[in-house]
């Protein structure tokens, strides 16, 4: 097991493409997407609907250096579009050790 940062991002579905482009640019190779989420925040209630204005939950496990780059990349996006980004610690179960 190796210690990693666990980044949890909640953004709107429509921004997902942009955020993934940023992650690609940073070189993050792994992430998990939970689509069709809802929620409430400063910008009001959001739920999945035919308008496609629901949220998406993105979880990224990566090392600290990459985590810092992800965080910096997320700041302008969060400022512009809202959303939430939480960072916590976790242990990654490596299969070959």
């Amino acid at each position: 097991m190796k210690p990693v940062k666990r980044i949890e991002i909640v953004i709107e579905e429509i921004e997902l493409e942009n955020v993934i482009r940023e992650l690609d640019f940073i070189g993050v190779v792994g992430y998990t997407i939970v689509p069709r989420a809802g929620g409430r925040g400063e910008r009001g209630v959001r739920y999945e609907s035919v308008q496609g204005l629901g949220n998406v939950l993105l979880t990224i496990a990566c090392d600290e250096a990459q985590a810092n780059r992800v965080i910096e990349a997320m700041r302008p996006i969060l400022r512009r579009y809202g959303g939430v980004c939480l960072v916590s610690d976790a242990m990654w179960v490596i299969h070959d050790s």
């Binding site: 709107e12 579905e13 429509i14 921004e15 069709r36 910008r43 009001g44 999945e48 609907s49 035919v50 308008q51 496609g52 204005l53 629901g54 302008p76 512009r80 579009y81 809202g82």
Partner: protein, 324 residues
């Protein structure tokens, strides 16, 4: 005529049922994917029928309708914006976002108008279907331009990239592609094949519309809670703007395009309706400073029900009066 019996069209009754179900806080809910499926079906159905009709006529004769659609698509959002910025006096970014919704169109309202014409047994020209497809996108561009003007100076490189993408998105929007694509297929597919798929789109069309409107009634009703946030003046805009649009649409349909009562009604409905499916996500991306509570409540909670219940029969009476 504007009579009670107009409101007894099943499609409108199902809209009312959905509205009511939500008002009494019923737990009735449509899976979101069902709504998406119903709207895909409706767009393909409109497209195929429109395409088949258009295949019968001289393409040159459609030029007038195309030009009119572009004129309305670019002109209406500017009128809406001026009203919002000058008269209602809301901030420019919200004004731009709302304007884009009113410049674009609502396929749901359009199909309800067709159901209305069916029920009063009035025929209509086939050109308005092309106009529906064409009018989806221009208002999104105008909204973007107005927002960029409002922001002026802040347009950095990133902003430009976003704008470029949004122009692309406006023209490759799912509804536009479905409508134009199905129209093309309706126009060029071989008749034997078409005759095999049409029953699907004929037999079910009005029934599917009812289910779609049932759900949209619930969605519209859900927006009532945000009326406070919208404020009285803006709520009035949600009624007045469709009336202005309808007036312009009636004039365009009757005088400019020389349509009959049916076609004129449809042009009026295109101009009077506000998008509540395709434009909201586009504006959320383009103008994140604008509040979805405002533009969605206006287009879906005020203008859509107004058009479906009051507007369509009203514009129809006007179209009949013009055609006297």
């Amino acid at each position: 005529m504007f009579s009670l019996s107009n409101m007894l069209i099943p499609a409108i009754l199902f809209f009312a049922l959905g509205f009511l179900a939500q008002l009494i806080r019923s737990d009735l809910k449509f899976p979101p994917d069902l709504t998406k499926a119903l709207s895909i079906y409706l767009l393909v159905g409109i497209g195929l029928h429109g395409g088949m009709e258009l295949a019968k006529i001289d393409p040159a004769s459609a030029i007038g309708a195309v030009v009119a659609a572009l004129g309305l698509g670019f002109g209406l959002p500017i009128i809406a914006y001026l009203l919002l910025a000058m008269v209602v006096r809301i901030d420019r970014l919200n004004a731009a976002a709302i304007a884009a919704h009113y410049g674009s169109v609502s396929a749901g309202t359009f199909v309800t108008a067709i159901a209305f014409l069916d029920s009063v047994k009035v025929a209509h020209e086939s050109y308005p279907v092309i106009m529906l497809a064409i009018m989806e996108s221009p208002a999104i561009i105008i909204g973007l331009v107005l927002a960029n003007m409002a922001r002026k100076g802040t347009g950095n490189g990133n902003e430009k990239r976003i704008s470029r993408e949004l122009v692309h998105d406006a023209f490759t929007n799912g509804s536009v592609v479905l409508l134009l694509g199905s129209m093309l297929i309706g126009a060029i597919a071989q008749p034997t094949g078409l005759s095999k798929i049409l029953p699907f789109y004929d037999t079910m069309f009005m029934g599917v519309l009812c289910l779609f409107l049932l759900d949209m009634g619930m969605e519209a009703s859900r927006r009532i809670g945000d009326f406070r946030k919208v404020g009285p003046l803006l709520l009035v805009f949600g009624i007045v703007m469709p009336l202005i649009g309808a007036a312009i649409g009636l004039a365009t349909g009757h005088w400019l395009l020389g349509f009959g009562v049916g076609g004129t009604l449809l042009v009026a409905v295109l101009a009077a309706s506000a998008s509540y499916i395709a434009v909201p996500p586009a504006m959320r991306l383009a103008i994140p400073e604008a509040s979805p509570a405002l533009f969605l409540t206006l287009s879906l909670g005020v203008t859509f029900p107004f058009n479906v219940i009051v507007g369509i029969p009203l514009y129809f009476s006007a179209a009949q009066w013009l055609a006297r």
